[in-house]
Symmetry: C2
Subunit: 203 residues, 2 copies
Amino acid sequence: MSESNAPDARPYHHGDLRRALVEAARRLLETEGAAAMSLRAVAREAGVSPAAPYHHFKDKGELMAAVASEGWSLLSATMLRIATENPDDALAAAVTYVTFARSRPALYRVMFDSARQRESLPFVGITDPNSPYAWVREGLAQARQDGGMMDFELMIAASWCASHGLAEMAGFKQFDHLKETLGGDTPFLRALLTRMGLETRKR
Amino acid sequence: MSESNAPDARPYHHGDLRRALVEAARRLLETEGAAAMSLRAVAREAGVSPAAPYHHFKDKGELMAAVASEGWSLLSATMLRIATENPDDALAAAVTYVTFARSRPALYRVMFDSARQRESLPFVGITDPNSPYAWVREGLAQARQDGGMMDFELMIAASWCASHGLAEMAGFKQFDHLKETLGGDTPFLRALLTRMGLETRKR
DNA sequence: GACTTTATCTGAACGATGTTCAGATAAAGT
DNA sequence: ACTTTATCTGAACATCGTTCAGATAAAGTC
């Protein structure tokens, strides 16, 4: 009769293996790096045979997609929190995006690879008029009365591209001197994002 | 006595295997995709045993680095040509960068992965005052008299980040509508890059 | 010319990986 | 209690990156 009702009650043979695998994968990804994250290593980490994952994921790719999905959820939650605290601040949102990616480089790479396969960013409905991003709402309103919805969409697109580009390049040595001059990492990010058209207080 | 002096005189056992391998790798990369580009497949394509490449490259990584390096050279040459034809046009340079990356996605990924490992873009000395990028020269000159060299470096950094971000995201479905509205791929790129601060005619 | 040295390539092997599959195990449904 | 279904294991397969002893041929030396 299984092992009584331990704190982490395990509904099946192993327990919620699916979740355990995703967590193990993320752990391996952040500690050992992307190269060490083989399917077998993940199974090993979860204390299970190499064939076990195939009852929860069709592929290694599907496991990675699950990890990526969890990553996007985490990033979305982080950005939603920031956007709620600092409405009208597109720059702060972008800084949050870049900082998240830079603090979990391997995870972010998996996330973006997944996005590239789908050819679409699985990001929270940032263009949803009911989104808590106030600057999005204001942008939508102004765009509507300008008759220039396109202009607003351009701004959203530019923000994404700028954030992603900076996320992947901010670590490059070419920028060391710039970071030093500007007095740190965050000022550097803010300066560059501002250069790329990101602003605080609406568009 | 080898096989006489055939048109492609082969100096050693196989010929210039190193070059042949890099070319085979690039061919496989562009036709079959990154996943199919194993060291063994490259050796197979070059008509050689799986161990042969190890006499020219320490690693698979070193082969990839060679492919990447060739890619960067090609991109540099392309951009230098454009910059010579259209001086003072940073926007055109960025469009060239993005178009190159988008027309060889797998190669560009290898190139950028290589850059990420070195944490540096192995790009031609774009900040070199003697570079044929006229807008770079003018930017340098103006920055010097402004006393604001930093500002100019920020522009360079922003251009790279914007170009890379757009290169990797331009294919996303979120932008299909925008591309249609703007009347094609290039107008879309130009509009976005402009939004991100890239300009024609000096800074 | 013959002989040595050095560079280049092969064949076979090792461990690790992604994946499949027949069968064991245990939960859920009746 | 019996069947059904979901979950996991163990062994196997092809492929991959890599190593290494030995074959092959070019370059260097006399």
